[in-house]
């Protein structure tokens, strides 16, 4: 009760205040604001905000309000901010009084206060403070808090709209912020980019891949902005994926009447389209967002697929778009509009969901007409009967506007699908006896259009309409019938003059449009049947001559001159017949959404069908792709030195919202302490990876994801770990596989660090989860082996793939395999093999699986049966094979539902190894144990320019899956690995001995493998 009383009093106050906007009342508020009681001030401010909300002027209070800007009370302060932002523009001088408060707050240790100060400062639209704003933005852009950086991105737009001269400086800030790796910043800075410099595509290149990878984790509003920007970007940077489809379709058609031989020749001639991997990356990373709860995100992904994806992939967005139809009325409206445009070009996409577009009596009018539009576009020979049955219900609807729309839709169906033209016509003729005028009128108009398309067989319909003529009162319908009579008067020679007779009687009382058509009818009949109609025509022309409407007078005069012979009229009357009775082209019944596709889907311009201000055109695909390498990112140098400084800064702040930086800070300090020993830093890097992923999923029990070796754990954490059951570990594993994929970016950088430590420099195309596998592997399968055998990620993954099954022998199924060099998850003794299966036939292949194997004891972890592989589709699967440390081929059968194909995988010796990291010291120790019989060596000759470390590590890593061991000598390179099955250590030393010779030494207890590896290495290095 107290509440309601209070709000009542408040209301009453405000109302009173509004009614009597007297100075005394203002004085009252002023007094309250100037009092030293916090509660009074707050009360006053609340009333002032109430005024602003009502759109009343409260600007006089400015001096009194602005004094409170530095108040300690947060709510009061916030309300003052609201006021300031609203009125600063009008009271610029006074507003300056508040600036120093904000400048002070910009230096506050609390990031949220810094951010809020920048927010308000940049919202005050006072030109004089532009330099202050510029400075604040620049500083905030390099703030350590991502939240403050986000705010600075917002401020960029505000400053730009205030003063466009700052553009160049602002672009610099944008460029800097685009490099930011925080998901918080990404959306906002792209927004600023779109506003300030949408044409500076070059700023995006280097950040393209990062943005693609971050996308899933950006907040939903940012996702929309980034997706729309990337859509435009992709259209300028990649070549069209559609052309090839066209070629492909032609093939399909040709295949019917051309021999296979020719077809294959054709294929080889056609220049194959290769999708840029970056293009693919964008498509792949946006796809999960179709599941977003935010309808704007779903729509923006849908438009991205529509504008960028190969034609056969666009349909994956269908389901999600149909889902949106369940949402609010306004959402439905926009989505239906976009579907309407899409369904004109691609019927097949929405046909399976036809029933979702059935109209309900409760739908709003504009929703109904959009659904009708879509149903009409979806109509084809197969479903037309269903659609027409549905239309029959609609025609009877109480909403007559909608019924009329349905009749037009029936007309469109009838013209598009010739099979049903007659049925539709008959149906429409039945409607002519409908009681509702709108329905009848619309039917007449549509029938006229249909008859025009094929007039030959329909004289009885014309007769029928003539009969109905007396009962029809809607002018447009009457005019249509008259026009039909005139146009086809030769088919109804008896009726037409009679209709004219009736019209002559009622001429004066008709609507203008009917009068015009009557004059036309008279003229046409005069030409074809002057005997019967001469007098009638003259009578009508006389009536027309004195009509009130000048159009009708004009027309009458023109017609008279044209048809009635007299001495004055000359050349033209000879052609009267040809002028009036020329065959007229049939009207085309088209969708209103036909030309909407000139606008990008999902945009405001598309919705209103005119170019909205600020609309950015989607460019056409370039004929030739611009340089792809612009998107390559240089490997980031590990910044060991700079980071600890940051972490000490970090402690300065009491509110530790910046876990990200803390994480990287602390682990990089570990890096620093152990940088001399590569083995430890290897494990370090892994725990770093895990830390990042656990951070991102905000896993509270971080300790579980720490590497077992981490020495910096507290006792309590250790206890916690001991209590862990294997089940829990499994969950953690799944946990990570999830976070890993979404947080690729983090891991990628880390990964780069790992690689850097191995000093193998190249641009990497790793399949990302390899690092993950490594870290999990070490975590899940406690190493039975001695301490130094710490697994590491592969130094290099060769792209080379081998044929497993050629499409000719596989009856259209082709298979290729390659070694991804990841530890096998199924069993540690297995080598994982990646197999890509492609269906090159024109029918789907079902139940692809692995059948018999030989030797029968062969231990294979098969991939799950692939239920169905569509034509032209390919799928990549992983399997594990235990080669038992020998290069003997693994033979097995690859089966489809119908066939069995024997295939075999023969591994190179280098693929049977797994890389490990160890220190130089450990390496020497291990080497010492493996001398004599276990050592094999050879000297080779190499070219002098290849004597630096990089070219050596490259061929070695290509040949064998080995890890680099850091070396203190420049001319000695060491590599270490272990065999997959038995876990025997394999050590490789390459010693360069000037004069272009090198000594390769291999130490391993598996001497056979050793010598085979030596042979391969000799071959590779000699080539190099």
């Amino acid at each position: 009760e107290l509440t309601s009383y209070k709000s009542f009093v408040e209301q009453a106050c405000i109302v009173h205040f509004l009614i009597s906007f007297s100075p005394s009342r203002n004085e009252d508020l002023k007094e309250m604001l100037e009092s030293n009681k916090e509660s009074l001030k707050l009360e006053a401010m609340k009333r002032v905000v109430g005024l602003i909300a009502k759109g009343k002027n409260a600007s006089e209070l400015f001096p009194a309000v602005v004094k409170n800007v530095a108040s300690k009370n947060i709510e009061l302060k916030k309300l003052v901010y609201v006021y300031l932002v609203r009125y600063a523009e009008e009271q610029q001088d006074l507003a300056l009084l508040s600036i120093s408060t904000f400048q002070r707050a910009l230096k506050d240790p609390n990031q949220l206060i810094r951010a809020s100060a920048l927010r308000v400062l940049s919202s005050i639209r006072v030109p004089i403070i532009v330099p202050i704003m510029m400075l604040a933005i620049k500083e905030a852009a390099s703030d350590m808090s991502p939240y403050v950086r986000k705010t600075s991105a917002h401020a960029i737009q505000k400053l730009y709209s205030l003063d466009q001269d700052q553009k160049e400086l602002l672009i610099e800030v944008i460029e800097k912020l685009l490099k930011d790796k925080s998901t918080l910043v990404a959306g906002s800075v792209v927004m600023a980019f779109e506003e300030v410099c949408p044409d500076r595509i070059d700023l995006i290149h280097k950040n393209y891949r990062k943005l693609c990878n971050l996308l899933v984790d950006v907040e939903e509003w940012g996702q929309v902005v980034i997706i729309s920007m990337l859509t435009r970007y992709a259209r300028t940077q990649f070549t069209s994926p559609w052309k090839e489809d066209g070629v492909f379709d032609e093939h399909n058609e040709r295949a019917f009447y051309e021999s296979d031989e020719e077809k294959t020749r054709d294929e080889t001639e056609a220049k194959p389209y290769m999708m840029d991997p970056d293009h693919r990356l964008l498509l792949r990373n946006t796809k999960p967002l179709l599941q977003s709860r935010n309808t704007a995100v779903v729509m923006s992904v849908a438009q991205l697929y529509w504008h960028l994806a190969p034609k056969n992939e666009v349909s994956i967005v269908t389901k999600s778009l149909v889902r949106l139809l369940r949402s609010h009325r306004e959402v439905q409206y926009i989505v239906l509009q976009n579907i309407a445009t899409m369904s004109i070009q691609r019927k097949g996409m929405f046909e399976p969901y036809m029933k979702s577009f059935y109209v309900r009596s409760t739908d709003a009018t504009h929703i109904k007409s959009l659904k009708l539009e879509i149903l009409t576009s979806l109509a084809n020979e197969a479903n037309i009967s269903t659609i027409l049955r549905e239309f029959q219900t609609y025609v009877k609807s109480q909403d007559k506007q909608f019924a009329a729309g349905t009749i037009q839709a029936i007309g469109r169906c009838a013209t598009n699908i010739s099979e049903v033209t007659d049925t539709c016509l008959n149906g429409l003729v039945l409607l002519l006896s409908n009681r509702d005028e709108t329905v009848v009128a619309e039917s007449v108009v549509v029938i006229r259009k249909l008859l025009q398309i094929q007039p030959t067989q329909h004289s009885d319909i014309i007769k029928h309409m003539a009969k109905l003529f007396d009962n029809i009162t809607v002018p447009m319908a009457r005019a249509s019938i008259l026009w039909l009579m005139g146009e086809y008067c030769e088919r109804v020679p008896k009726i037409a003059p009679d209709v004219l007779r009736k019209m002559a009687k009622s001429f004066t009382s008709e609507e203008d449009i009917v009068k015009l058509q009557t004059v036309n009818l008279a003229a046409k009949l005069y030409l074809t049947n002057s005997k019967q109609t001469k007098l009638l025509t003259q009578y009508i022309l006389n009536l027309g001559k004195y009509d009130q409407n000048y159009d009708i007078r004009d027309r009458t005069r023109f017609i008279r001159q044209l048809i009635v012979p007299n001495d004055k009229n000359g050349a033209l009357s000879k052609y009267a017949h040809r002028i009036l009775l020329a065959p007229k082209p049939a009207p085309v019944l088209e969708s209103a959404y036909k030309d909407r596709d000139r606008y990008q889907l999902g945009t405001l311009s598309h919705t209103i069908n005119t170019k909205a201000s600020g609309y950015l055109e989607l460019s056409d695909w370039p004929a030739v792709a611009p340089d792809q390498s612009v998107r390559n990112v240089e490997v980031i140098e590990p910044t060991v030195k700079s980071k600890p400084a940051k972490s000490s800064d970090d402690k300065f702040y009491s509110d530790s919202g910046e876990e990200e930086e803390k994480g990287s800070g602390s682990s990089s300090s570990e890096d620093g302490s152990s940088s001399s020993s590569s083995e430890e830093s290897g494990s370090d890097a892994e725990s770093h990876v895990q830390k990042n992923s656990s951070q991102t999923s905000e896993e509270s029990d971080k300790s579980s994801s720490q590497s077992e070796k981490s020495s910096s754990e507290s006792d309590s954490e250790k206890k916690e770990r001991k209590t862990k059951t294997p089940l829990q570990k499994k969950t953690i594993f799944n946990e990570e596989s999830w976070t890993y994929v979404t947080k690729q970016q983090h891991t990628k950088t880390i990964f780069v660090n790992v690689i850097n430590q191995h000093s193998v420099l190249q641009t990497f195309s790793y399949s990302h989860w390899s690092t993950l596998c490594v870290s999990l592997f070490t975590q899940l399968c406690p190493l039975s082996l001695a301490f130094p055998l710490q697994l590491s990620g592969p130094a290099f993954v060769p792209e080379k793939s081998h044929d497993l099954l050629h499409r000719m022998t596989g009856k259209g199924l082709s298979a290729q395999y390659q070694f991804p060099r990841q530890p096998c998850l199924y069993q540690p003794t297995m080598v994982s093999v990646q197999i890509s299966l492609t269906n090159t036939t024109d029918h789907p292949l079902e139940q692809i699986h692995i059948g018999d194997r030989s030797p029968t004891g062969l231990n294979i972890h098969c991939f799950n049966t692939i239920e169905c592989l569509e034509p032209e589709a390919s799928v990549t699967v992983f399997m594990g094979i235990d080669f038992n440390d020998s290069t003997q081929a693994a033979n097995f059968q690859l089966c489809t539902k119908e066939d069995h194909f024997s295939v075999s995988i023969q591994p190179a010796i280098g693929e049977l190894l797994l890389p490990i990291t160890m220190t130089e010291l450990d390496f020497r120790k291990e080497q010492g144990k493996l001398l004599g019989m276990n050592e094999s060596s050879a000297t080779i000759t190499m070219a002098a320019e290849n004597m630096t470390s990089q070219p050596i590590s490259r061929p070695v890593a290509t040949v064998a899956n080995l890890g680099m061991v850091p070396s203190s000598q420049d001319n000695v390179h060491r590599f270490a690995g272990k065999t997959a099955n038995s876990g025997a250590v394999v050590l490789v030393t390459v010693e360069l001995r000037g004069e272009s010779t090198a000594l390769i030494t291999i130490n391993t207890e598996k001497s056979v493998m050793g010598s085979m590896l030596l042979r391969d290495l000799k071959l590779a290095l000699a080539q190099a």
Binding site: L2, K6, Q11, G50, K54, G55, I74, E75, K78, V82, I113, R119, R125, S145, H154, Q157, Q164, P288, Q291, S292, R293, N294, A296, K319, S320, R326, H328, E330, Y333, I334, K355, R360, S361, T362, A364, Q398, R435, G602, T603, L604, S605, T607, I608, T610, A612, S613, G614, Y615, D655, G657, E658, E659, E698, E699, S700, T731, N734, S737, W738, T739
Partner: protein, 424 residues
Amino acid sequence: MQLPAKMIHSLFLVNSSGDIFLEKHWKSVVSRSVCDYFFEAQERASEPENVPPVIPTPHHYLISVLRHRIYFVAVIQSEVPPLFVIEFLHRVVDTFQDYFGVCTEAAIKDNVVVVYELLEEMLDNGFPLATESNILKELIKPPTILRTVVNTITGSTNVGEQLPTGQLSVVPWRRTGVKYTNNEAYFDVVEEIDAIIDKSGSTITAEIQGVIDACVKLTGMPDLTLSFMNPRLLDDVSFHPCVRFKRWEAERILSFIPPDGNFRLLSYHVSCQNLVAIPVYVKHNITFREGSSQGRFELTLGPKQTMGKGLEAVLISSQLPRGVLNTNLNPSQGTYNFDPVTKLLSWDVGKINPQKLPSLKGSMSLQAGASKPDENPTINIQFKIQQSALSGLKVNRLDMYGEKYKPFKGIKYMTKAGKFQVRT
């Protein structure tokens, strides 16, 4: 000169009688006369729902949503995806509803300061900033009776003293430092069936849309997994951002760190391909005779394939043809009402007893001399079935990781009629 700025420029709240009762500008002020274009469209529209959501004017574009009989009209100056604005406006309404319990003109006027504070946080320069309810609640506490009383007496505020750190974290949807003495997690599986049944009783289209709404009150940072007995049923799903998508892709398990409080975890769609069991049937006989001023009206309802669960809260509504002057009907149970002005017939049936089927019988009087209506009215049905999800979806188990206590878990199923229409 100021450039046409992107995103949302201003917001006007308009009530059903066409008065602007609140305005908020995120950039320089736009005169409220811009709404005249909106009022014009409002006048043209026969029903409130028929106002087009996007209205172009010479200098601005108006994008509006209608909820709770209030139009939320956003003023836009340049190209922006319309759904972006629409989705945001709906979020605003949801937030108001969350804060004030109802979203009415009175509630908004009563809480105008909180509304202003909320709008200020939700948009920065017209671009959405904080739209997560958990973050907003940390910034601005929802008004409760107790708090209002305390505030009045002590002069303290609704604005959070502590600044939210959730906004900065990677789990922006959950606030930090959550504590409960009773830890509980409730999940409601609610399915709505949309259907069109034709004259003869056969199904033209039927589909099931479901949601899982959760009310999670758990201490700390719990990590939950929810698995289904039959996840294959779900044809198309959309998630709250907390759900880990890849995990769902791979294992069909919902794994998430929940927001605190009420939220919608998942909405899903069960495809039309799976035959949908229609839980209710309608026998109807509605006839108008030519020349007579009387029409017959007979309606009988009965349960069908309800798996032993009863139909509750059954409500029938139908828009009768314009020619009907009045009705004289006799319900076997419940109450019926006919509005002679809007021609809306509604019959509150209540529970259906399978032994004694409810019926509504009688006559309609028609306008004398008017011709027989072309179309029979469509009948809209609402109903509820407790303790059952029509699609057969079943939650298998809910597990919690990351926290040590044992939470209380509960799950409830319910089926409702969505847009369920019978054509007669």
